[in-house]
Point group: C2
Chain length 210, copies 2
Amino acid sequence: MTIRYPNGKKYQPVQKQKKPKKKDYTFGNRGKTLEDELNESNEYYLAHHLAVVHKKPIPIQIVQVDYPGRSRAVIREAYYRTPSTTDYNGVYKGRYIDFEAKETKNTTSFPLKNVHIHQVEHMKQVDEQQGITFLLVSFQQLDRYFLLPFPQLYDFWSRMESGGRKSITLEEFEKNAVEIRAGFTPRIPYLDAVDSYLVNKESEDGARGE
Amino acid sequence: MTIRYPNGKKYQPVQKQKKPKKKDYTFGNRGKTLEDELNESNEYYLAHHLAVVHKKPIPIQIVQVDYPGRSRAVIREAYYRTPSTTDYNGVYKGRYIDFEAKETKNTTSFPLKNVHIHQVEHMKQVDEQQGITFLLVSFQQLDRYFLLPFPQLYDFWSRMESGGRKSITLEEFEKNAVEIRAGFTPRIPYLDAVDSYLVNKESEDGARGE
């Protein structure tokens, strides 16, 4: 189906402006950040009609804007704001998907200080509304990726709140998360992990008679 | 359930910074923009555990950032980018919701030039992924609000593409959209309109044997 502008011109999706990449030449990600890898994976999913997931823009508080003549407006003073939600959300088979992605150079555990409390609060709200919500963690040095569903994340968060350890160990990821087998196209096939999670969840819900 | 910071301090949701309001003292919206009204409605839905819907931040391309001493980073040069999606999305009873909100001072029709082609393209992708997607239109002067589901919006868009009229008349909204009865809390109870739409849609899908 072709979409056209009011003047009859054919619509061509705009190429996204690429932002400069942070260089990091570990073997695993070959110079790509987790954000790059996820954006490419999301573009793959979109192009193949498998899911519509986008990264949210960074929230900015704009203080001063110049309008120089006929040129486009220039923002001259603005500040980063703390995001009140996670970074990624969208739709997969009609269901709402919402996740935060974090990478760590640590090789034995993931420090919970990388997750903001307002993100945990947001994921809790999404979970209560039956959305699919999770933390996606990249252990950069190990080239391993995990999808940790919110209920499990919340257990580890609560352990920390009650004075327990402030991180989740790799072994705990192996036991409680779904491992994502990094590939080529898409680089991070996280929807496969979502499928596994949902199959397990539904069989558990079924066993509980829900 | 109380959420605590790693240091044991209780989490208090941050009050959103209010941006200066565009003044518009028509009777209907009493100085509030549609964005304000929708943000308040979304806060109401969130507080009452009915839905988790947020406005996406405006996408900005950042060119230069200053880091003045110990103060926070100041963005010194940045530009507005064209959004590639709609403004609002979130989750309602497990389902993905995605919409664009537009207001018009026009009293007899809604000009389609207010909708960007990339937003139509995005809504089409969401619709194909079985998300709930629609255009929310406020006729400011009339104090009337409509939820126009994407399939109907797409019909009007296609009419324009094939050389037909470049707007949707008020009568066409009355016939093809679900009217939202503006109230007090929430100001714009658009989830009621979503419910009506879903009931109709499911009975139609049922009739088609889907």
